[in-house]
């Protein structure tokens, strides 16, 4: 009996139990069961990863049972274990386990904890089903499963209007991407007759020149499929044009943001591109699109991040931007780098989110950084963790010596982009410059966040803090803030309980050492033996980029730090003055490049106009318009006529039978006379 399916199925069973029997077993048992199941999954995932990496375990495939088997279309529930899925297993289960643990503290006062934990576990199951898929359909199943879980968790506080709106926005935006993904799967099946990854990759490599399209309009099949798949990835991973849902998704509880909207679900797109690396390598234009979209996202999200005041939105845009790094790394063919950045990012971004959650929790659900300040003294541990997360995010480190996790992966992405630009890959040079500029901006807005939140004097009021406390369920334990009132200038905050801090410490360890420890495996000299064909690794001569390329990220990072120190630490209020002086630019950034307004004007209003057209024109005029009450009246009328024909008299029935027999018989005679032509 293979043990690997337990990793996937344990969270499902826990979600099932906690979701359906929460009344019977109570909140505590529900939390224990879900957290325990994810802990089991985590342990087994670690074992799988270690076995593959160090103990010589072989990649393998466990097929559970057929899912769909109709007319040549087959899909099998399976657990595919190779390095790629093992990395994702570790990322997903570790972050999920820590988030479960953290939520025990964060959601301590929520009356619907059992539901929350059931959703979390369901999400974990879906994500694991996604990463262990062996064909596109199971991947799509997991893809939709995490979408549903994300929807449910963003709208977890369903009595809040904005949370519901955000949940619907996330779901609808993802539909756009999922539509592309579904088309990509169908196109793959249409062209290659299978949806199993290996079959598709093999077939694509066999006939790279295959064309697809309508009569006049022909494109290479592998390009079309790759582009469609990438559109799916754009939706799920919040890339430029389809990014609008991610910042709004911060309406969900903070642990959700950490798990789903930072570490795991949003990286599913990157995972998918890496899983399909064999396809993208055959499709230079699709790969170029990945690079360009990724580069633009990295830059765009970083600019917007500078002008946000909600602490979680800053981190959300930072996530968006980092996902852009991963995509352009994948786009230029450095799939190992993309996966490595995904891996390290999971640690430090989950750390940042959970740290932000700790701050929010400590300040009674205050999220606006303008009302913060001076939080360092009451929350020293959280402060230290956030600084570590920030250092990892901005990729601080000295080349050749040591650096935080982000240093290894991010710099590798930038260098790969440079090398690709030199080699003439589409978008390589753009990605390099976007990466460098975004690194500057990242450093700036990250330190801005730290300084606005933790340094200076407290800008909110203790009693105001309660006014923001709109979730009665999340009220902190009574009497705690009296302890801090006497501290001059410090915020009336309280440090979070150990059950919330412990996950931070674990993640911080990862944020410091994950890059240093794993760089040789993911992107270094052991990469070939580490990946073992799970993704495409470029084999060319390995030439080192020039020194200025290697040092550029560190230089801009330090520059961003200095700017942030100057504006937000030394000259309090300068930030607001700069914003006032550059009003149009600031408004442009604060309004996120006016994407929401644009989409509202084009899609929301457009869809409503179209709906009006169909409703008033199509439904009312045409369907209801044919006669009184139109089509439905016609159906009812014919139904009544048929009922009247049903007289109940045997001779009527017999008569009709004979008439019909004569009719058909007459037809037969007529056909016979024609010489057999019907």
């Amino acid at each position: 009996m293979p043990y690997e399916p337990i990793i996937v199925l344990a969270p499902l069973a826990a979600a099932f139990i906690a979701g359906l029997f929460q009344k019977q077993i109570g909140d505590r048992a529900a939390m224990a069961i879900t957290t325990g199941s994810v802990a089991i999954a985590f342990m087994l995932s670690l074992y799988v990863f270690a076995e593959l990496t160090w103990f010589g375990g072989a990649p393998r495939l466990i097929e559970l049972f057929p899912f769909i088997d109709v007319g040549g279309f087959t899909s099998t529930w399976s657990v595919r274990i190779d390095t790629l899925s093992a990395v994702m297993l570790v990322v997903v289960t570790s972050v999920s386990f820590l988030v479960h643990l953290y939520s025990v503290g964060y959601m301590a006062e929520d009356p619907h904890r059992a539901r929350f934990f059931a959703y979390l576990s369901f999400f974990t199951f879906s994500m694991l089903a996604l990463v262990t898929a062996n064909d596109f359909l199971q991947m799509f199943f997991g893809w939709e499963g995490v979408g549903v879980a994300s929807y449910l968790l963003i709208g977890f506080w369903f009595d809040k209007r904005s949370a519901n709106d955000a949940a619907i926005k996330a779901f609808v935006t993802n539909r756009v991407g999922d539509f592309g993904f579904a088309l990509g799967i169908m196109a793959a099946f249409f062209c290659y007759g299978s949806i199993r990854f290996d079959d598709v990759f093999h077939a694509a490599a066999q006939s790279p020149g295959m064309m697809i399209g309508l009569d006049g309009f022909q494109v290479r099949a592998v390009e079309a499929i790759s582009v469609l798949l990438f559109i799916g990835a754009m939706g799920k991973s919040a890339q430029f044009f389809l990014h609008v849902w991610l910042p709004d998704a911060m309406e969900g509880p903070t642990p959700v943001s950490a798990l789903i909207h930072a570490a795991t679900m949003v990286t599913a797109g990157v995972f998918m591109v890496c899983r399909c690396s064999e396809l993208f390598e055959l499709a230079p234009y699709a790969a170029g699109m990945v690079t360009i979209i990724g580069a633009v996202t990295a830059f765009f999200a970083a600019t917007v991040g500078m002008a946000q005041n909600d602490i979680k939105r800053v981190v959300a845009y930072s996530t968006c931007s980092q996902l852009g790094y991963m995509f352009f790394a994948a786009g230029v063919g450095a799939y190992g780098v993309a996966m490595f950045h995904l891996f390290t990012h999971a640690f430090f971004k989950a750390l940042l989110f959970l740290g932000a959650g700790s701050v929010i929790h400590g300040l009674h659900h205050e999220q606006d950084m303008r009302n913060m300040g001076g939080v360092r003294k009451p929350m020293p541990t959280t402060y230290a963790m956030m600084v570590i997360g920030t250092l990892a995010l901005i990729g601080f480190g000295v080349p050749g010596v040591f650096g935080f996790a982000g240093f290894y992966s991010k710099d590798a992405a930038i260098e790969a982009a440079y090398a690709a630009g030199e080699a003439g890959r589409i978008g390589g040079e753009l990605a390099f410059w976007a990466g460098v500029i975004a690194a500057l901006l990242t450093s700036f807005y990250s330190w801005r966040l730290i300084f606005m939140t933790f340094e200076g004097e407290y800008r909110g009021t203790a009693h105001d803090a309660h006014a923001h406390d709109d979730h009665a369920h999340a009220a902190a334990p009574a009497g705690h803030h009296a302890d801090h009132h006497d501290a001059e200038g410090a915020a009336p905050a309280h440090e979070s309980p150990w059950v919330m801090l412990a996950p931070l410490l674990v993640l911080a360890t990862g944020a410091v050492f994950a890059g240093f420890a794993f760089a040789p495996y993911f992107i270094g000299e052991s990469a070939d033996t580490f990946w073992r064909g799970a993704l495409h690794i470029a084999h060319g001569e390995h030439h080192h980029p020039p020194a200025w390329v290697v040092w550029a990220p560190l230089a801009v990072t330090v520059l961003g730090f200095v700017l942030a120190v100057f504006i937000y630490l030394l000259n309090q209020g300068l930030g607001a003055r700069i914003a006032a002086a550059t009003k149009p630019l600031h408004a442009f950034l604060a309004h996120k490049w006016y994407f929401d307004e644009l989409y509202d004007a084009v899609f929301v209003k457009g869809a409503r106009a179209l709906g009006d057209l169909f409703w008033k024109g199509g439904d009312q005029r045409v369907i209801d318009g044919l006669g009184p009450d139109g089509v439905s009246a016609a159906a009812r009328f014919s139904s009544r006529q048929l009922r009247r024909a049903q007289t109940g008299y045997v001779y009527h029935y017999g008569f009709l039978m004979l008439v019909a027999a004569i009719g058909f018989g007459g037809y037969a005679i007529w056909v016979g006379m024609q010489g057999g032509a019907p």
Binding site: D69, A645, Q646, Y653, F664, G676
Partner: protein, 482 residues
């Protein structure tokens, strides 16, 4: 070819399922003569076991190559095995869901399992028929038993009416059948299907005319429009377990028989008979869907629903060849548990001591008996063709068969009819879930409810997962038989 010089009883062991049924019917007469109506319960149980055994045996023990019995009068092959399995299980389910009803209405008489057994035997003979005489004998054996079953409640005027109507109209249909068969015999010189095929039928006027009349008679048996007029009246009048029986097994038997008549002997005339089947299919789907819209009686509603579903099965048959036969069988394999499950639920529910009859009787079921309501929901959604339930896949493969046969227009008609039909299935569901209950519904009849639960489990997820396997079986069976 069949060697006529074999002894008459050569190969008779292949008829074991039929012999089991006949043995049960004869033995039950003797037991009943001694035990009178007190034996009804025992005989029902015994009958259910015998029918299920016969069916499963026919399937598991079906020969790889067609085997001919009684000098070629019967043929046993994979196709008949698959059909018999479904027939046997349906007949067994009828006895299970009916036991409680007959006990409650004091109608439990020992003849009922015997009649069911004879009808089942008739149907087994039908699906194995290899000449026109066997066809007629099987059909009449099934029909005569069915007439009696329809009139089971002798003291009830509607039941008696149902029986006499069914009998008179059935007699007309039998007349058409014999008339048509005489033409076929006259123009080919044989009644055996393989000999008819060997006679290489051309589009002789007389031969076509005979074939069309045979099709008409079979259309009556499966209640395809415009030969469906008896269906609502008989379904409404007959006792509900009998209605459940009529709605399920005989349709499959008639469809399978039609496949046998059309495919092997009249392969050369496919283009000609296909038009007739198209017409029957389109009419059945349209009339079955539209006429049911205004029905308030559940049994009449299901009658029209069965007409529409036969239309879909005919659409598959029209595709012709192995794909047609396999698709029709798979469609019926999904239709049978659905319809039996719905009738089982109707039988399991009572209001004020009486069995539910109308849609309004089900009002408020969702609040009172969520389990039964959930089963209703699964079954009705399935028969309405909503994914991911089995009914959806049934319709899907039928449409595919129609499109492959070049009849895109028929698939379009079918899709429109499916939409219209969804309206009345949903009306039942809206009563179940959204209407306030006037008078509480009681749940009774554990066996019926259990049968409904098994049927629902078949619809989702067993048949959905097993659809590929079922299709393979059906295709394999069809490929050895046609």
């Amino acid at each position: 070819m069949i060697a006529l010089d074999q002894p008459f009883l050569w190969n008779v062991h292949w008829a074991a399922p039929e012999l089991i049924l006949a043995g049960f019917a004869l033995g039950a007469v003797v037991i009943g003569a001694w035990g009178k109506d007190k034996a009804a319960g025992f005989l029902s149980g015994l009958g259910a076991i015998a029918f299920a055994t016969a069916g499963v045996l026919a399937f598991l023990w079906s020969p790889e190559l067609p085997q001919y019995l009684f000098n070629g009068a019967l043929v046993v092959d994979g196709f008949s095995g698959l059909a018999k399995a479904m027939l046997g299980l349906s007949a067994a389910a009828t006895l299970l869901i009916g036991a409680d009803y007959f006990a409650a209405t004091r109608q439990a008489r020992f003849e009922f399992p015997i009649m069911t057994g004879l009808a089942a035997l008739g149907m087994f003979v039908m699906v194995s028929a290899n000449d026109l005489i066997t066809l007629y004998v099987g059909l009449e054996l099934q029909s005569l038993a069915a007439y009696v079953m329809a009139a089971w409640r002798r003291d009830d005027v509607r039941s008696s009416e149902a029986g006499i109507k069914y009998f008179v109209l059935g007699a007309i249909a039998s007349g058409l059948l014999l008339f048509g068969a005489s033409y076929i015999y006259g123009f080919t010189g044989s009644v055996r299907f393989d000999a008819i095929a060997a006679a290489a039928p051309t589009s002789e006027v007389g031969l076509l005319f005979g074939l069309v009349l045979v099709i008409c008679a079979l259309a009556f048996k499966m209640s395809a429009a415009p030969f469906h007029m008896w269906t609502p009246d008989v379904y409404e009048g007959a006792p509900t377990p009998v209605t459940a029986f009529f709605a399920a097994a005989p349709k499959l038997a008639a469809i399978a028989l039609l496949a046998r008549v059309l495919y092997a002997p009249f392969d050369g005339l496919t283009e000609q008979w296909r038009q007739v089947i198209f017409a029957l299919s389109a009419l059945s789907m349209t009339i079955g869907s539209i006429a049911a819209l205004m029905q308030t009686n559940l049994k009449r509603l299901m009658a029209y629903s069965s007409v529409a579903n036969v239309g879909f099965a005919l659409m598959a048959l029209a595709a012709g060849g192995q794909q047609g036969a396999a698709t029709a069988i798979v469609y019926m394999a999904i239709y049978l548990p659905t319809t039996i499950g719905i009738f089982a639920l109707v039988l399991a529910l009572r209001r004020g001591g009486l069995h539910v009859e109308t849609i309004d009787d089900l009002a408020g079921l969702g609040a009172r008996h969520p389990f039964a309501a959930a089963l209703f929901t699964i079954l009705l959604f399935s028969i309405a063709g909503i994914p991911p339930l089995a009914g959806f896949f049934g319709k899907l493969i039928v449409f595919r068969a129609a499109v492959d046969a070049g009849a895109v227009w028929l698939a379009v008609v079918g899709a429109i009819c499916a939409v219209i039909a969804a309206a009345y299935y949903l009306r039942v569901l809206s009563a179940i879930w959204f209407k306030p209950p006037a008078e509480p519904v009681q749940q009774a009849g554990g066996a019926a409810l259990a049968t409904a639960a098994v049927a629902s489990a078949l619809i989702f997820p067993i048949l959905v997962i097993g659809l590929g396997t079922l299709e393979r079986w059906a295709t394999l069976a069809a490929s050895t038989s046609f």
